[in-house]
């Protein structure tokens, strides 16, 4: 089986001018203890576009996503090799502080996880602990507006965030991430715990947000990937169940004329 970066991935690194690259991932490998989860991932993620990471479950897409904001390090015994350049700086350089990295990158999780605080405090907590000096009320309102939640909650900002519906909670989590005014938002299957209507609203929100933010979204739903994303990265767990990058291409091209046979098999449902 292929163990070096696949040709289609290497070709992609020439796709984008340097200024338009949000993440430049070079030969990234990841181990949980002795189990290798990712092998030699090389990929460039374009700025202010939606990039989808897809693949069957267990292929390492969530692990890759969490490498982008160094959230993987919460797991003990984790080992990383390779480099990830975020806006030009290697976030895995030896003296880099993960806290500084995460301040600049927002994340939304699979199951909505608002804090058991008020809606206001959910959004305000991030800026507060990072020493925000400006007008918090304005920031909260702006973030809730950008997450398309303001009109529904503006009269009940003091209510608990847990009192909202699933879709509203997820939008609250998006507002919470937006409050830190990051350039990038990472989304780990943000709709998989939601009903179709809530999913539809969030997908619409993603289209709105991409004009200002780089979005990387992990999804196991191919239709969602083709609806929502501009670029698609397809991953597979190869031999020894190690995740590898198989193909990276503009979404329309990926789903109509995939270059790799494995991509084609996946798209046509020969395995899932």
């Amino acid at each position: 089986m292929v163990s070096s970066p696949s040709p289609s991935a290497a070709a992609a690194s020439a796709l984008f001018p340097a200024a338009e690259v949000a993440f430049d991932i070079r030969a990234l490998s990841l181990w949980y203890g002795s189990f290798q989860a990712l092998r030699d991932i090389t990929l460039q993620i374009p700025a202010r576009q939606v990039t989808a990471l897809i693949g069957p479950s267990g292929c390492g897409k969530s692990s890759l996503l969490r490498c982008l904001n160094r959230l993987n390090e919460l797991v003990p015994d984790v080992r990383i090799r390779g480099e990830v350049y975020f806006e030009g700086a290697n976030i895995y350089a030896p003296d880099t502080d993960p806290v500084e990295v995460r301040r600049r990158i927002g994340m939304v999780f699979q199951k909505p996880n608002p804090f058991p605080k008020s809606i206001y405090d959910n959004v305000a907590w991030g800026p507060r602990i990072n020493g925000y000096r400006g007008n918090l009320d304005e920031l909260v309102e702006r973030s809730l507006r950008r997450a398309a939640l303001w009109d529904e909650v503006k009269d009940k900002l003091r209510q608990s965030g847990l009192a909202l519906s699933g879709g509203q909670q997820q939008r609250l989590c998006i507002a919470r991430a937006l409050a830190l005014e990051p350039d990038v938002i990472l989304m780990d299957e943000p709709c998989s715990a939601l009903d179709p209507i809530a999913t539809y609203r969030i997908e619409g929100l993603i289209s709105e947000l991409k004009s200002q933010y780089t979005i990387v979204i992990v999804t196991h739903n191919m239709q969602q990937a083709s609806r929502v994303s501009d670029y698609t990265a397809f991953m597979l767990a190869g031999e020894e169940r190690v995740g590898e990058l198989i193909e990276f291409a503009p979404t329309s091209q990926f789903f109509t004329k995939p270059r790799d046979k494995r991509s084609e098999d996946y798209i046509t449902g020969r395995f899932g």
């Binding site: 700086a89 003296d95 500084e100 398309a148 619409g204």
Partner: protein, 316 residues
Amino acid sequence: MITLPRPEVAAPRRLRARDLRRPLRRTLREWACELPLLVAALVSIFTTVGIVAVLAAETLAFFRLVPLGQFLTDTQWTPLFLEKHFGIVVLLSGTLLTTAIAMLVALPLGLLSAIYLSEYARPGVRRVLKPVLEILAGIPTVVYGYFALLFVTPLLQALIPGLAVFNALSAGIVMGIMILPLVSSMSEDAMAAVPRALREGAYALGATRFEVATQIVVPAALSGIVAAFILAVSRAIGETMIVAIAAGLSPTLTLNPLVPIETMTAYIVQVSQGDTPQGTLEYRTIFAVGTTLFMLTLALNIVSQWVLDRFREEYQ
């Protein structure tokens, strides 16, 4: 959906490596936050060190005056009399007598009630019975002492002629009732951990509930039940107020449950209530007895934990 007018979209930021370095202020603050927590965690070590140090110091001073051999083999305990004897066996017999009686009550009843709650009782019944058992466990032991002396003893005296006012039987029985909830809840936890599949396999073979409970579940939960039993013994040995109130303060080397005795714990209370000046031999005796008590219960607790760890049944 509301859209804000789009602001001027600036080119993406370029970061430099030093933008991502941790500010010194934050490193110091984090460390300053962690230090007091670590100190607090070390307090528990300090407690153990303190216990060992205090016990050892006074006990060693005691053994400088009273040879260990005499402590272990003398058959009288009269440190407060003119003619002093220091046979720990006397107090040990009191402790073991009350403990044995308590275990005769607590172990069978505790295990049976655990089996009932785990295998027989309907959820509604369980929901009522379990809190009641918890209440039993929460009653202060001095209240049990009152109950033993002023209710149980007169009752038993009517049934057993010749029963002294202070005796090991009443105290032991009441202590057993007090320990029952501990045995019951620990055994029940052990039985709850037995997977349903095991029971269902037996039922499918046509076993009755009694057979499943006694021949499948209890053996499968045995390590937890044995650990519970050992802990119960440890608890009984360390119990003070019930025996201090109802079992008597007369050190007697006997196995007769109908006469007054004195346990190790009751002796410590007895001497503490008086005015024993520091540094005297009498003062040191309570530490010598305390050390014996401590080593006994520590050994039992360690064995109980070892049983749990070593023999814990692994269910996938």
